[in-house]
Amino acid sequence: MRFGVVIFPGTWSDCDFHFVIGEVLHQPVKYVWHRDTDLSEYDCVILPGGFSYGDYLRAGAIAGRSPVVEALGDFLAGGGFVLGSCNGFQILCEAKLLPGALLRNECLQYRCQSTFLFVENAETPFTRGLRPGQVLKMPISHGEGKYYGDAETLRILRGRNQIVFRYCTEAGEITKEANPNGSVENIAGIMNEEGTVLGLMPHPERAAESALGGTDGLLLFHSLIGSLIEDGSFLKR
């Protein structure tokens, strides 16, 4: 499976994703510059974490209008997958590729810590290898990760099963204490209606080697790679 990792000015998880995909998963991976618009050589494009454009207006706002992001529409239409983590999630929301928005953490502070994620939907290409209700351990690192959607958006998200991950306790309870940033309904990650775009605040690339505290992040990639091979789109392209 061919991955492209986008670099915006201010991105910093680019190298980490590149390393995990190339060195841990042994998949072909290249960097994509934010001004590039030809994504035809990739199966999955990753929007990594960081502070694109310093997050100076709103997190992800300026990057959300860049050429590479504009090109994602066609890329998706052609059968591609997009994964946005942390700043990448913020960018996807800003670009309207995912509904809702990410606001400043309710505690008004940056948070770098380990979190547990409740797998809400295990039927997406990114989570197919997981069990519904499975609890994953993945770190977060952000100051603006409070997911917000209005009542209508939430209703649609729920109705279409687009909520993929919620923050939970180690035992899998979705509680206020387990919510590190005040996200509505503990939402940590959502996908688009088609299931081809996943956005999440946690960092799967930081949970990809046991020496670094866990490998649950790899499960997303395994699912995705498995999905692609299974549904044949790997061969189509």
Partner: protein
């Protein structure tokens, strides 16, 4: 031409920063503050022929970048139609 753009959280969206500032003011003895919300103001100096057109452009900037329609409202104000800014 000089303009101001206000960008603020929509009513109904929790403003924890506003709440924190209000609480801090109360702590300092300012009990009279009943409500407080924190927003952004962008002060722009524009090369623009005339206010109506400038306003149109500014509103477009807001829709395209400056405000997030999911969470924010915006408001455009033309402050000064000609001179260079001379802010306090």
């Amino acid at each position: 031409m000089r303009a101001r753009v206000f960008v603020r959280l929509k009513r109904g969206i929790l403003d924890p920063q506003g709440t924190a500032v209000k609480r801090a003011l109360e702590g300092l003895g300012y009990q009279e503050v009943r409500e407080l919300r924190v927003g952004k103001v962008l002060e722009l100096e524009l090369e623009a022929a005339e206010p109506v057109q400038a306003r149109g452009r500014l509103e477009e900037m807001c829709r395209r970048l400056l405000a997030n329609p999911v969470t924010e409202d915006f408001q455009v104000e033309i402050v000064d139609e000609g001179r260079r800014p001379n802010l306090p």
